[in-house]
């Protein structure tokens, strides 16, 4: 694989509700001197919704992206844990099931795409920690995140079912990245607990309770904010704080993408982080960040 060059698979969320995740990821990669070239003519991975479809269809949808990226020959980077998991699943299913692979290949061939053996699918946490590493990250820090207490929240899908680059039960990559940027990662035992995901739209009470527990645990641990790597997690944790049950008390916990914190640490001004896209006010967090910057 070409060093420092990646094929970028943003996925649908990063064009919509997670626009800030896309922007800050690109900024972070650029500042680290990495090339992130968007995959031409990519399509939706199918996410959870499409995995209920007959297997051939679901796999073919992701298979197309894998085939396109495979032809380029660079590692495919993605930021969305759902895309990451769905692409890996498709690839694994095809490598384990020859018959399925043949069927999918035939479908793709009809669409004019040739699938060979796929492509390494990499989450950006994996790339930043394992390809870039401590030295280069630390060297890129201009505004250390001093005094910032972060609860690192990974969500379910980055390490499950495939724990390829981090511990399944107690992942550490995001914690390490943010520590290299000067932040403190608070002890936080719900790192991989489900936020409620799609249940937010059908069983809202259940999902709100799940999200509340995550935020409450972060608050008790003394976190100034929750950093996440997942668009859906951010939507649930950030967007429903006013609907947390009254008995629980109103939450005021800023939830941000870890790339927004990285970008800030690398010197991107706070008004370029697209923090205004958050539904919950982030003024306290900004004050904390800027206060820290003044002290530098």
């Amino acid at each position: 694989m070409n060093e420092g060059e990646y094929t970028w698979y943003p996925g649908c969320s990063l064009l919509g509700n997670a626009k800030s995740y896309d922007t800050t990821t690109r900024q972070v990669f650029e500042l680290l001197g990495l090339s992130l070239k968007e995959l031409d003519d990519w399509n939706c991975c199918g996410t959870a919704a499409y995995s209920g479809m007959p297997l051939k269809r679901a796999i073919a949808l992701s298979g197309r992206n894998l085939a396109l990226a495979g032809n380029i020959g660079k590692d495919m980077a993605t930021a969305c844990p759902a895309c990451y998991k769905v692409l890996l699943t498709a690839q694994n299913y095809m490598s384990e099931n020859k018959l399925l692979k043949e069927e999918v290949c035939a479908v793709l061939r009809e669409a004019g795409v040739e699938y060979t053996n796929g492509v390494p699918v990499r989450h950006i946490l994996d790339i930043l920690v394992n390809d870039v590493g401590e030295q280069k990250i630390k060297a890129a820090v201009k505004n250390p995140l001093k005094d910032l207490q972060v609860a690192c929240y990974y969500g379910c899908q980055i390490v499950r079912p495939y724990a390829l680059f981090d511990d399944r039960e107690d992942p550490q990559t995001m914690d390490r990245l943010l520590k290299w940027c000067g932040a403190t990662s608070v002890p936080f035992s719900l790192k991989t607990r489900c936020c409620g995901a799609m249940l937010m739209s059908t069983e809202t009470d259940v999902a709100v309770e799940l999200s509340y527990q995550i935020l409450e645990t972060a608050r008790r641990a003394g976190a100034d904010c929750v950093a996440t790597a997942c668009p859906l997690c951010l939507m649930n944790l950030d967007g429903y704080q006013d609907r947390m049950p009254q008995v629980r008390g109103r939450m005021h916990m800023p939830v941000v993408y870890f790339t927004q914190l990285l970008a800030y640490a690398f010197g991107i001004p706070v008004n370029k982080l697209e923090l205004e896209r958050n539904l919950e006010p982030v003024d306290d967090l900004i004050a904390k960040l800027e206060g820290g910057a003044v002290n530098v």
Binding site: E169, D170, S189, Q213
Partner: protein, 696 residues
């Protein structure tokens, strides 16, 4: 049965072979045509007589061979039956009785290698024929060899001074033989020294162990090598040479009386964990490795044997700065000696007993159970120390804040029966968990929950103990503890540790809030078991424990002659089983040593001196140091008394000057020739492969 009479004139060296095809009941005869194999064998070169018989290993079968040897003047015999590991010795003995050299016997395995593993009748018959043909061609070239006698030094090296090692050492010493008891820790006693009570009788562990420890230390036939490591081992059955490294204690053993002045004044704590916790105001340290004072100068337990402290160089202030010297000043006998060095010595023994024990599973590997992350999540080992009367709390079960817990959960199978860590069952955890439950109920007014997969109590009085513990009000939940969380979801859960599990009897998820969680950690092989195994020539199995010679019939022996196994190094087991195996190992070692000398196989390597170029490639390769280099002749020479016939030098010799007796090139080539004969030469009327054969 077919018989071919040889020519009446018998030349002296001409091979006259008898072939015997065993039915093994239906084990062989049910899967291939033994009759046809015997018939085919009768037509092979040099075969004088060929028979099939129902049970060759029976006394009738053996007599058959003996009679034929006498009647037909046989000088070679092939028995085609089971594996040579089972009956080669039986048939060799039969041949010897009839006056034949036993090394001119050859076993052909058509059971394990053929009938048991080949489904097709005709193919199995053909394969058996090829195996018999190979053996028959080979045996014609087997030379007469002589067994060698080896004297056995009447001394044993016991590696490991836990309860198994102590038991084995005492048994041998009581029989009047010399024992070296090697222990790498500062004291003997092993794991058992840290237990408070033992299951199911609830004996005080120290009360039954410490007398044995001192008996071993004071026995005139036992030489204690505590705080020593085995550096090198050479030699073979009866004549092992061990290089022992005595690690520096920085205490003069001849002067020290174990008064305790030194370890009581040591200001430096060994455990950084405990130092950190003390600074954080924690009253009780659970993650403590020892029940003794925590200084760099320490004694493992107050009942240590030998009762000598050790100064830990890595943490001692003196070794970092040259200052402190508190222990030096406190010792009125002048026994502290910072200049002490490791010393080496060689010992010679006839037998070795390996009793190196196990390692306890590292609970930190199971992140979701919170050990090392959540306070008051402790391992069963830590509980033993906490509960021990000589422990840090004087035997009180306390949480980190110094309060007794009101509820305790015990999680079974941590690191055992789990394909992420160890597939094996650690055998002792169910019972010691029940013991822990009992001790908690006895000492505290606390609820106790046991989370188990299956309750395994297969031992004398074990099931009764299980019932007793249930009667004491311990709550049993059949479900593996999946996670321990400190995050409260309800007001009742505030400040508690929540154990999550799927209760497989109720078919529902459980979330039980408790004050303290005890993880029943399993047993694993020692980290360096593989290295030791390599030194001894003993291999490790899939789970990493040492492999016994036979799982049922030789559980205390190894494949290495003269080396025996005792205790948990062979697999997880409890105290009575470890002691029983130690007794068995000691008995077998004694049986060998009492003979004074034993016969060993006649196989050894031989150098053809005219072909030897004197390159010396073989000399350093020999693991038994059996090859000498004769300088004035410029050739290598194998000492047959030392050679173990491993074949390393044979393969390595660039001039092909070394021959392995019994495994010479011409024997092996002949064996191949025999196996690869065309079918038409093996059977009189060749059949196409795969055609149905005759009936049984």
């Amino acid at each position: 049965m077919s018989e071919t009479n040889g020519s009446p004139e018998i030349k002296k060296d001409e091979p006259r072979i008898g072939v015997y095809v065993c039915h093994c009941g239906t084990n062989i005869a049910g899967y291939l045509d033994v009759n046809k194999v015997a018939e085919g064998a009768g037509a092979l070169p040099n075969v004088v007589v060929s028979r099939d018989y129902k049970y060759m290993c029976s006394s009738m079968g053996q007599e058959l061979i003996e009679n034929d040897i006498k009647e037909f003047g046989l000088n070679r015999v092939v028995v085609s039956a089971c594996s040579p590991t089972l009956h080669e010795k039986t048939f060799r003995a039969a041949c010897s009785r009839a006056g034949m050299n036993q090394y001119q016997f050859q076993m052909a395995n058509i059971r394990e290698h053929c009938s048991w593993v080949t489904k097709d009748y005709a193919k199995a018959t053909e394969k058996a024929m090829r195996i018999v043909s190979a053996a028959t061609h080979r045996v014609a070239r087997n030379r007469a060899l002589e067994e060698r006698k080896v004297t056995i030094k009447p001394a044993t090296l016991v590696i490991g001074g836990g309860i198994a090692g102590i038991e084995a050492a005492l048994t041998i010493a009581n029989a009047g033989k010399k024992v070296y008891l090697l222990e790498r820790e500062p004291s003997i006693g092993g794991r058992m020294a840290y237990f408070d009570k033992t299951f199911p009788t609830l004996d005080c562990a120290a009360c039954i162990l410490t007398p044995k420890m001192s008996e071993a230390a004071n026995h005139p036939n036992i030489e204690l090598l505590a705080y020593c490591e085995l550096e090198e081992l050479s030699g073979y059955l009866g004549n092992f040479k061990a290089k022992i490294r005595k690690k520096a204690r920085y205490i003069d053993e001849d002067l020290c009386v174990g008064c305790g002045n030194c370890w009581e004044v040591c200001p430096q704590w060994r455990s950084s964990e405990a130092v950190k916790k003390r600074k954080a105001g924690v009253k009780v340290f659970h993650h403590e490795a020892t029940i003794s004072p925590m200084g760099s100068c320490y004694i493992p337990t107050l009942q240590a044997v030998p009762k000598l402290p050790v100064i830990e160089k890595d943490t001692c202030i003196h070794f970092k700065t040259g200052k402190c010297n508190k222990c030096l000043e406190a010792c009125t006998l002048g026994a502290v000696n910072f200049d002490q060095q490791d010393t080496y010595r060689d010992i010679e023994v006839g037998t070795i007993i390996v009793a190196t024990g196990t390692k306890v599973f590292d609970a930190a590997r199971v992140k979701e159970l919170g050990w090392g992350r959540l306070p008051n999540v402790i391992t069963s080992q830590e509980f033993e120390i906490l509960c021990n009367a000589s422990g840090p709390t004087g035997g009180q079960i306390l949480m980190e804040n110094g309060e007794p817990p009101k509820s305790v959960a015990i999680l079974h199978c941590v690191g055992s029966r789990d394909e992420n860590y160890n597939v094996h069952c650690s055998r002792v955890c169910c019972m010691y968990s029940l013991k822990i439950a009992h001790l908690v109920r006895e000492k505290l007014d606390a609820d106790v929950f046991e989370f188990y997969i299956d309750m395994r109590t297969p031992g004398k009085g074990f099931e009764e103990f299980y019932h007793r513990v249930m009667d004491e009000g311990v709550i049993m939940i059949r479900g593996r503890g999946a996670a321990v969380s400190d995050v409260p979801f309800t007001p009742e859960e505030e400040g508690k540790l929540m154990v999550e599990a799927e209760d497989t009897l109720l078919g529902m998820r459980r979330r039980v809030p408790v004050d303290m969680v005890i993880l029943a950690v399993g047993l694993e092989p020692q980290e360096d078991a593989m290295d030791l195994g390599r030194m001894l020539g003993v291999s490790c199995g899939m789970s990493g424990f040492f492999i016994e010679r036979h799982p049922k019939l030789a559980p205390a022996m190894t494949m290495a002659e003269g080396i025996f196994l005792a205790g948990t190094c062979q697999g997880p087991k409890d105290i009575p089983d470890s002691v029983a195996q130690a007794g068995a190992a000691a008995g077998q070692a004694l049986a060998l040593m009492d003979q004074g000398e034993v016969s060993v196989e006649g196989f050894f390597a031989e150098v053809a001196e005219d072909a030897c170029s004197g390159c010396r490639t073989c000399v350093p390769l020999c693991p038994y140091r059996a090859i000498d280099f004769i300088t004035d002749k410029n050739v290598a020479r194998v000492n047959p008394a030392l050679c173990q016939a491993c074949g390393t030098c044979v393969a390595a010799c660039p001039s092909s000057a070394i021959t392995g007796q019994g495994y010479s090139d011409d024997q092996l080539v002949a064996e191949l020739d025999g196996a690869l004969l065309p079918l038409s030469d093996l059977f009189e009327e060749p059949e196409p492969v795969g055609a149905p054969g005759g009936g049984v």
